[in-house]
């Protein structure tokens, strides 16, 4: 099995995403997709990504996300059960297998479709049919594709393509963090978040409020402040945590 995996070229470009790569690896197990070993498949995938990384190939983020998820799945399958966990690792493994089966089935179906006797390649209609007298006076023809392609064409022609976002002046999160960190030590009791806003400048008020709110959340996460609010949309209070 290892040798099969080795023969796969390390050309990440050749795969249409992680699921495609997983399907190719699963196929290399040379068993029915319903009988593949998910653990072995996870090993193969992680090994593949490791080798690609060792060769310093650039790997798209979705491959790494899949690698992280598969690593998680592997540990969940191997570690003692957590009965609370929903869905169970077995369920997740089954879903992965089902997705591979489904993709595999559609790939095969596509190949079988393409191999059929196709009109214009294998079977033919008359090359120059004479056509029938039409029931209506003139038979104007157009397909739905023509219609929507035409609208796309008009929209593309008339729609501005460039979108320029004006560089707006804002109060940055860093500035708000600095300001609240500096002020919070001096306050003893709860203060509203608005009381931390810089004076004056009505122009930047909304931006300052948004940044200060984020800064307060960040400081709470760091365990430096605590937050209080009576009800939704009620004033938000901040106090240093001691």
């Amino acid at each position: 099995m290892a040798s099969d995996a080795d023969t796969l070229t390390l050309d990440i470009e050749g795969w249409e995403g992680p699921l495609d790569l997983l399907l190719a690896l699963a196929r290399s197990q040379k068993v029915d997709l319903r009988a593949i070993s998910i653990l072995a498949l996870v090993e193969q995938y992680l090994g593949f990504i490791e080798r690609a990384q060792a060769l310093r190939l650039e790997i798209a983020a979705d491959y790494l996300v899949m690698a992280a998820w598969l690593a998680y799945l592997k540990s969940a399958l191997l570690l003692p059960r957590d009965p609370e966990q929903e869905p169970s690792p077995e369920e997740l493994a089954l879903r992965l297998q089902l997705r591979l089966e489904r993709l595999g089935a559609m790939r095969e179906a596509g190949a079988r479709l393409m191999a059929r006797d196709r009109l214009g390649r294998d079977v033919f209609v008359r090359d120059a049919p004479r056509g029938l007298r039409t029931v209506r006076k003139a038979q104007w023809q157009a397909e739905i594709y023509d219609l929507i392609a035409a609208y796309g064409r008009i929209s593309a022609r008339t729609r501005p393509v460039m979108h320029v976002v004006a560089d707006r002046e804002v109060v940055t999160l860093e500035a708000a963090l600095e300001r609240i960190s500096a002020l919070i030590g001096a306050r003893i009791d709860w203060s509203t978040i608005e009381s931390f806003l810089p004076d004056g400048s009505d122009r930047l008020r909304k931006s300052a409020l948004a940044s200060s709110f984020l800064a307060a959340l960040e400081l709470a996460k760091q365990g430096r402040v605590e937050l209080r609010q009576q009800s939704p949309f009620a004033p938000l209070y901040v106090r240093a945590l001691r």
Binding site: F124, V125, R126, D127, A128, R130, G131, L132, R133, T134, R136, K137, A138, Q139, W140, Q141, A142, E143, I144, D146, L147, I148, A149, A150, Y151, G152, R153, I154, S155, A156, R157, T158, R159, V161
Partner: protein, 195 residues
Amino acid sequence: MTPPDEFVRAVEAVLFAAAEPLTVEAIRAHAGEGDVRAALARLTGDYAGRGIGIVRRGDRWHFETAANMAHLLRRDREEPRKLSRAGIETLAIIAYHEPVTRAEIEAIRGVQISKGTLDVLMEAGWVRPAGRREVPGRPLMFATTPGFLAHFGLESRRDLPGIADLKAAGLLDPVDLAMMEADTALEVAKAAETD
């Protein structure tokens, strides 16, 4: 009637699929070695009394509908005609924006439309006058018909793909845009010439 042998079947298929009447040599070039004349004689017999048949015109052979079937087919035959680009664009604008006036259509298309364009759409039964807009000049508005929905297999106008769908399908590609603009410039130039 005994079933035809392989060679007769081949001659039959070749004659059927051909774009024009074929000589015996041309038939042989496709059907392979065999007695083409005998096969043609056999086929002529097989099709006697049917709705279609094999006929000889000079030294060429072809399939034709039987002569006494002509009344079903020949009378007032009109070529199916494909809608012009101006026609399909105008129809698309009406479908997406109805009801619209002619001036609005021109504003969206960025090009004037000729009177014939709307006439064709109405003749096809896809577009109808839909009242007048209550602005100075009271211009006529246009909208699509149930026949339009039927022809394009739509249940309602809401089934038309939206701008986001078009974009996702690659129908709003900026690359095309450059090409289209070139086309439009050409069209305008041509229109100016013919005026």
